[in-house]
Symmetry: C2
Subunit: 230 residues, 2 copies
DNA sequence: TGAATAGTGTCTTTCAGACAATATGCC
DNA sequence: GGCATATTGTCTGAAAGACACTATTCA
């Protein structure tokens, strides 16, 4: 196979007589009470110097999930815990190089303040608030909006919020996470009534003491896996 | 590009140093009060003489939706009205030829008793009850089950049932369609109360007279498009 | 004892689910 | 009038949503 070149003039599209396939990852996390997504800064054509979702080409011997994990690791140094397939985007001109179809994945991680270590095709990696995203490469804006919808709706019928929380958490932290993602305030009593009725949590017995006020019970999820409840 | 050959011994996998991409279509329709899906009988290796979902390789200049419509037309003679993307299946060994990733689409059509006209890779095309499917090629059994889940759950929060009905229909026909797809009986009064509360239908003014009993009001959908209501 | 956050219960409204009698047309 | 299907309303229980006070710790 011919080597793929790196700018518009000597780009050989004949290499691609079938569509190429990539995986892109929308990784969400909460930082400073704000929902953020991880972007990398491209240092090659096309969209050089634009921010983009981490992602890359699928290798013949790896599953799409493996591609997602590998690319995220390569481009940011982060490891993937929870992820699920989002949608496959296939507009004909979404990539100026040639026909590229991308399977988008959506992933969550708790706030860990991990240092980001971009390598390869990225000159930088950074968390961006979903409230003010920069100009993005390709159709990545659309992909992020799709992922955000999916995340928001899954809050209502699954324990997906787990992906954004540390192992142990307080009911206040849980509620704050819902509020940040949904972008609206929730009633404290109704929220707790609902959450307790779901029977998804157990008390750890520990309490969180952090200031001059009543300490909060710490909970964790009963189930290791994603659970649907509606 | 080398021509692809047709049996295991002289199959040249080096043609595929990147994953190949196909589209498969799960087309549902109701026939004789039974939910059926359209299958074709393969007349080439692999899975020769097995039933399989209609589908095929994505061409460079077509969208996935166009691939779906083209393949369905080629293999069955049918035209696609409603369809939506289902999921992308990518297990490494799902296709014995080489690495093939497939984007599954799920589609609906009203019962039209259209004659099926298989061509190209199919020696036959036929509707099969989802209650007793034959041995299927590839991972197509899994794909159909996934599509069926999607269809069933969408009945509860969208007007997707439209895809299975003629333009005008009675409330009894609507309810029967729900019952066939869900595989369970529903209460007539509660069903109608709910449906009318959704405000999705208008009376056509016409009535269906078909036998020695009270004629039924004919309705049609207000909205041309898919509408979500929950 | 004042400041800050944690934790809890009642009332009202809405919706799902159980349930049966009347209406209309054809023979 | 008899048969077959169409059409309609009430009651009950469960859950969502509005709403305010007490509990605990620390300074």
């Amino acid at each position: 196979m011919k080597k793929q070149s790196l700018n518009k003039n000597n780009y050989d599209a004949s290499v691609f007589d079938r569509p190429s396939l990539t995986v892109d990852i929308v990784l969400f996390s909460i930082e400073n009470n704000d929902l953020k997504t991880l972007l990398i800064k491209r240092n090659i054509w096309p969209y050089k110097n634009h921010w983009a979702l981490p992602g890359g080409f699928v290798k013949p011997k790896e599953t799409l999930e493996q591609t997602a994990a590998r690319e995220l690791k390569e481009e940011t140094g982060l490891s993937l815990s929870f992820s699920e397939q989002l949608y496959t985007f296939s507009k004909i001109d979404r990539d100026p190089r040639t026909r590229v179809i991308t399977v988008a994945y959506f992933a969550l991680m708790p706030n860990t303040n991990s240092k980001l270590n971009p390598t390869t095709d990225a000159s930088a990696a950074a968390w961006h608030s979903i409230k003010k995203l920069p100009d993005l490469a390709f159709d990545h804006q659309e992909i992020i909006q799709y992922a955000l919808q999916r995340l928001r709706s899954k809050l209502y019928y699954s324990n997906i919020v787990k992906g954004l929380l540390a192992k142990d958490f307080t009911m206040s932290q849980l509620q704050a996470t819902y509020e940040i993602v949904l972008g609206k305030k929730l009633d404290k009593r109704n929220f707790r009534k609902k959450m307790h009725s779901l029977n998804l949590f157990v008390k750890t017995g520990k309490k969180q003491l952090d200031g001059s006020h009543r300490p909060a019970e710490l909970y964790h999820f009963k189930n290791r896996k994603l659970v649907y409840f509606a």
